[in-house]
Amino acid sequence: MSNISYREVNDDVVRTMTETGRSYYIALSLCLVGIVITFGLPWVYQIYTGQGVTGLHSPAYWGVYLTNFVFWIGISHSGTLLSAILFITQTPWRRSIYRSAEAMTFFSVVTAATMVFVHMGRPWNWYWTFPYPNQRELWTNFKSPLMFDVFAIGTYATASFIFLYFGSIPDLAAVRDRVAGWRKSLYGALALGWRGTDREWDLLQKAYTFFAVFIIPLAVSVHSIVSWDFASSKIPGLNKTIFAPYFVIGAIYSGSAGIVTLMILLRKAIKFEKYITHVHFDKLGILLVVMSLLWTYVNITEVFTGWYTGTSYELESLSYRMFTTPFAYLFWLMIACNTFFPLLFVFRKVRVSIVAALLISIGINIGMWIERYLIISTSLPRKFLPNMWRDYFPSWVEISLTVGTFLFFTLLFLLFVKLWPSFSIYEIKEDIGIPMEKKGH
């Protein structure tokens, strides 16, 4: 990367924001139309008709909507967390990927939040979950894990947005100085009058370090809290103390795989091959192997604790998940995707191969989606009283809205790439080093 000049970095990043090809507009409009068809209209239909249009029933009151919610919260777990950890440990290969990774965090939290509203029976009363003084003299239940969720996710979304924004200020200023027209006033406002003085850099560094330190425990707590939604019930298959670490590890795992997928697509789409090189995929591959081993370990522990309880409920729930069709297929597909295929990353050849990395990382995320689906849809239909047992399968509305979440995330990301410096100009420059020194002056 050392043969790239500073000017080239600026040019490249500004180019991604100002030069828009036809394919971008096609993708954007496809996304918009897709969202209306797969997300907007079915949701309106669901709100108008009632939750009966889903495949939910008693006792499977939770389904694909919560699967998506946990999945997207999981995806959000790596960007900011990884960026913060790598920032504190001063890892150099962080610099060219972290901006997009942080954006991924923020957008997937937003996507996850939409699922909460979709899941609710009366979404128009969403604000009742906030503790605010009202004339009905009602308050919220702070014992409820769902209440923790409201705060955890609210805090996480706010903090990760601030983290993303603070890190971008010098770049927004750099863009401001290069563009004209409406962009000039937009980035002028967003850059908050950044001039690049020593004092400003010093303050930025302090604030950024503070948020990096703040976000690490926050990220861990957010997914622990999401896991408590399940673990604090008495339901066999959910009531396990391992759930918090299980979810956090799963989240970081799926998030890291999400970063790999996204980086491969992004570097191709905006021609940034020279900034995101095989070095990055090499390191991310190592991370994925480690996370895969950890995930496998926790998964074995989870199954073991279920078996070790020896109660008929837990054993039924396990055999329903692992050995009963159709869920057994999904379960073993998940094991293949998350435990066995990522082991290929042990070989350096696989790690630096873009195609292999793309396939395996997509596989991991398919596996992680299945994991969340299995957790919910194999536990609730097998609760305590066998008279009520009934299998759950999603309806077309739920499947359509699931597709919609992916389109929604894509739309947010497409807008981001165009409206925000998606690569950190100043930190890539740090990576390149001081040009004067290189030339031997």
């Binding site: 939750q51 009966g52 609710m120 009742w128 009602l138 019930s233 008495k234 009283l385």
Partner: protein
Amino acid sequence: MAGFLDRLLERFKIYREPGYYKRYDYWWAMVVDLDRCTGCGACVTACQAENNTPVVGEEESGKGRVLNWMRIERYVEGEYPDVKVKFIPVFCAHCDKAPCEVACPVYATYHNQDGLNVQVYNRCVGTFTCATYCPYDVRRFNWFTYKDKGSFESPLDEQLNPDVTVRTMGVMEKCTFCIQRIVAAKDRAKDENRKVRDGEVIPACVQSCPSKALTFGDLNDPNSQVSKLAGLPAEPYYLRESGSKLAKISKNPRAYRLLEDLNAAPTIIYLKRVMKGSSTIGHE
């Protein structure tokens, strides 16, 4: 100011006494004698009529969305010809350590001073969490606005109970122990400056049971029918603790609570059915 403080202190005095949380004004409970139950289902029908529960139709029933607040579970044991059919009426146990109450983020479900687990329809936002947390699967959800779907088509709307709300879509509901009858009885008792007498409150299911398998009453009162049937001593507050075992204090060897090991402290006490050939009578 002083008057206000006094009133406040008076109001919170109860909370300064040790063990205040163990006492309710009433402690409504049900005893289900399985020896008497014939599984006829009159209680299910009576409940449906009393509580304006919609009939959801064949298709929705097939999907597992029956809205009956109570059900009679049937279990078939053994292979033909040696078959035993067992059945048990299951409805909201109004658990004293109710898992559903912890789960609700908006306090749509909470424990009231009568020991009832109540559901506030207006407050419910429909997160489904209470129903998923319920180990007895007794909570029911309004998947649609059933009255718009023709569940109470004329002349069926004429028989709706005016004391009970007709629910709209998106809210959870469940057995209330016919709270409208409890409230009416308490009102009457208050006017006459006394406590509600034993047997004064009769929920619809109890009223309709032809074999008198169901008994409803106040566990706070040691002379009530429920206390006697369940064989409980005076002040059986122990039952409200998590981890309590009915067998420890009950004198009736047939008495048990459904899924007691889950520590939800349910207030429905079942009396075991003594079957021909069953070797063990009493606690497991």
